[in-house]
Symmetry: C2
Subunit: 105 residues, 2 copies
DNA sequence: CATTAATACCACAATGTCGGAGATATGAGC
DNA sequence: GCTCATATCTCCGACATTGTGGTATTAATG
């Protein structure tokens, strides 16, 4: 079963397109989620998702920016997409017919 | 933060109207979630939600059925509804703009 | 008192969270 | 061009919160 935060991380990866990486994922979730998120939490979750085969990663080239370690990029695997779809479908069915603000249209 | 299963339980309570109780909540989740759920998991979660003040409970009168202990009924408190709305709103924002099957319309 | 329906408890597994250590790039100053 | 200060990002380890199933217990009915 996917946890709540795992769902968010998976969604953030999708939003980042092919460029998703740790710090960017953090930003994505903070921007849309209206909640603070630590980098540690993000990386721990990414590691677990990778272990479960839901996500794959590779290290990129150095960027043009100031400094820093190379980025590790992430992408959903087919299984990850399936899990995510399943979770969201359940939520959609559970909210169907409820009053506005709750319904996930 | 609400966990994944907590969200489901809260939603199931809403769906059950004023009659929500343990076993009924289990059924609701299994019917819509397409996944097996144990009663123990449901009660443990209900207890925690109650402790956090998201849900309130009271014991009902004996039913007309064969036997059994009295049902314990559950209802969302304002805080519970707020938490749930917040979780779902986050999810909605995160899925907006993604391809069908993922978007939570 | 046997049977049935429901709740409560407990132990363990999986997820969530954070802070800080470490790695690796850049650019400034000499 | 070397060195070093600094910025950016990843990894690790410890602990808190949630998730799960199995089993026991309670309370009703005939």
């Amino acid at each position: 079963m996917l946890g709540e935060f795992e769902q968010l991380v998976l969604l953030a990866i999708l939003r980042g397109g092919t460029d998703a990486f740790g710090a960017g994922i953090q930003r994505e979730i903070e921007d849309h989620g209206g909640r603070r998120v630590s980098l540690g939490a993000v990386y721990t979750t990414l590691g677990r998702l990778e272990q479960k085969g839901l996500v794959e990663a590779w290290v990129g080239e150095p960027t043009a920016e100031r400094g820093g370690r190379r980025r590790r990029h992430y992408r959903l695997r087919a299984a990850g997409r399936r899990e995510l779809e399943h979770s969201l479908a359940t939520l959609r069915r559970m909210t169907r017919g409820l009053t506005p603000g709750l319904e996930v249209p």
